[in-house]
């Protein structure tokens, strides 16, 4: 269960404040499909958030500063980031200082959340490199998206803030990695085709002979991070070919379909990418 959204739980009917029909479809299909819903729908804010927003608009501005700063979702004074996102997107200013306090507080929470996310995932350290510039740029970019996403309508950040933020953070990282590793793949340099036999598995990439002790666990974790880092540094087609084969065990026609190439070319991408990953381990 994510912090800040105590009323959400896996499989809960109240999981997603969509229309009742869609909630029924969701319930019926939970756990059996990809979780996508059928039929037309529009995003609607949680009624509890709407009530909280109305109450906030009549509160004393002096006390709001204290409340906006509360980050413990279990505190009765906690204001959900969805509510603050609505305030910032709609530019609500019932009294002087209200919008400034709300914007500053939400921005601070966003910066902390993004920083914490990067901190807890060292596989992205090579991007961040301990730089406040990277974090500042990333947070600014996401903040702009928060304000401009679906202008005139309701953004998902006003309905489910944390998944929205996480998706934006992942997309930003993806773009940065793409920019950093842009390189063309020449098919002439690829090794010969015809990769037969069962596809390799992720486990094969990590050494099995490290033993079982705590040091082995750390060593495996570092190897795993190294493989993930190297995977993201591969050219997109090689990366996708390796991922589809190793992770999803797709057959060659499916791999070729998703990459948008012929089967022999997909095999070549896979072989090249796999050999580069193996080289990272050795």
């Amino acid at each position: 269960m994510r912090e800040g959204t105590p009323h959400i739980s896996r499989g809960s009917v109240f999981f997603f404040p969509y229309s009742p029909r869609l909630t029924e479809v969701w319930e019926a299909k939970s756990g059996t499909d990809h979780g996508l819903r059928k039929g037309k729908t529009t995003l609607k804010r949680d009624p509890k958030h709407e009530q909280a927003l109305e109450a906030l608009l009549h509160e004393d501005v002096a006390d709001l500063g204290r409340r906006f700063a509360i980050t413990d979702w279990q505190d009765p004074g906690y204001i959900a980031p969805e509510v603050m996102a609505t305030i910032c997107r709609q530019g609500l200013q019932p009294k002087g200082g209200f919008l400034d306090r709300a914007s500053s507080a939400l921005y601070q929470r966003l910066t902390g959340a993004v920083g914490g996310y990067l901190r807890r995932h060292p596989q992205w350290n090579h991007l961040v490199e301990g730089s406040s510039e990277f974090l500042a740029e990333m947070t600014s970019e996401i903040w702009t998206k928060l304000l401009t996403d679906k202008r005139g309508g309701t953004s998902l950040c006003e309905v489910r803030f944390w998944p929205w933020l996480e998706a934006r953070a992942l997309e930003y990282l993806r773009m940065q990695i793409t920019l950093k590793n842009t390189q063309e793949v020449s098919l002439e340099t690829l090794p010969p085709e015809e990769e037969d036999g069962e596809p390799a598995r992720w486990e094969n990439l990590i050494a099995a002979d490290l033993g079982d002790g705590p040091e082995a666990v750390v060593a495996r974790q570092r190897q795993h991070e190294s493989v993930m880092k190297r995977l993201m540094e591969l050219p997109p087609q090689e990366r996708q070919a390796v991922y589809y084969r190793l992770e999803f065990q797709y057959d060659w026609p499916t791999v070729a379909k998703f990459i948008g190439c012929s089967i022999p070319t997909a095999r070549s991408y896979y072989k090249s990418g796999y050999q580069k990953l193996i080289g990272e381990i050795e």
Binding site: L92, G116, A136, S140, P163, H224, F248
Partner: protein, 209 residues
């Protein structure tokens, strides 16, 4: 953005992933696989995001912040708050244009749409901010102008304060300038309509069932 057979047509990849993460707090690789199969034309982007998300713990509120995060915040918070105010000014301008487009002779179609075809002057007064909008009208105007009720109320309040004092000669009552908007009830009662019509109009201030 419409959904058809479970597929979000024309949606950006980020939106798809955001909704996916909302539905799956800790998605498995099988979950990601199904998502990619549902959007084959976005397979490459989704695969990349799945790789980045692999072994990631969910995004969450951070109670403590590092000096790095405080530095990043200090560098950019002014710009962030300024941007909010810029967006607000732009939004209010858009709202002003939408409201003005419904005033004057154009108020009649709007009044008819709100069930007030016989009382366009009431709608004009609401749009000018001199009469408080009843609940049901506010709900209608929210959808019509695509803004939330607090923004509308704030806009009408501002319009009332900025309105110029009309020059008129009252016939049945003393001329007066309203410093605050009149209540809907007061405005309706001042029309001295038949009881049935008065009750119908007054009921517009109650939430609809």
């Amino acid at each position: 953005m419409t959904r058809d057979n479970g597929i979000i047509d024309g949606a950006h990849t980020v939106d798809i992933v955001a909704e996916f993460l909302a539905a799956h707090v800790e998605p498995t690789q099988e979950d990601w696989k199904r998502l990619i199969e549902a959007y084959p034309n976005k397979a490459g982007e989704l695969a990349d995001l799945a790789i980045l998300h692999r072994d990631a713990s969910p995004m969450q509120e951070e109670v403590e912040r590092t000096p790095l995060e405080e530095a990043a915040f200090s560098q950019t918070v002014s710009g962030a708050v300024n941007l909010v105010h810029e967006m607000r000014a732009a939004s209010l301008e858009v709202l002003r244009q939408k409201v003005e487009a419904c005033q004057g002779p154009q108020v009649r179609p709007l009044a008819a749409a709100m069930g007030l075809a016989a009382h366009p002057q009431l709608v004009s007064s609401v749009l000018a901010g001199t009469v408080r909008a009843p609940h049901q009208l506010l709900v209608y105007l929210e959808k019509r102008f695509e803004v939330v009720a607090p923004v509308l109320r704030e806009y009408f309040q501002r319009a009332c304060l900025q309105a110029t004092a009309p020059s008129f000669r009252a016939v049945n009552e003393k001329p007066s300038v309203y410093r605050e908007p009149r209540s809907w009830r007061e405005a309706v009662l001042s029309l001295r309509l038949p009881d049935e019509e008065t009750q119908r109009l007054l009921s517009m201030d109650e939430p609809s069932e």
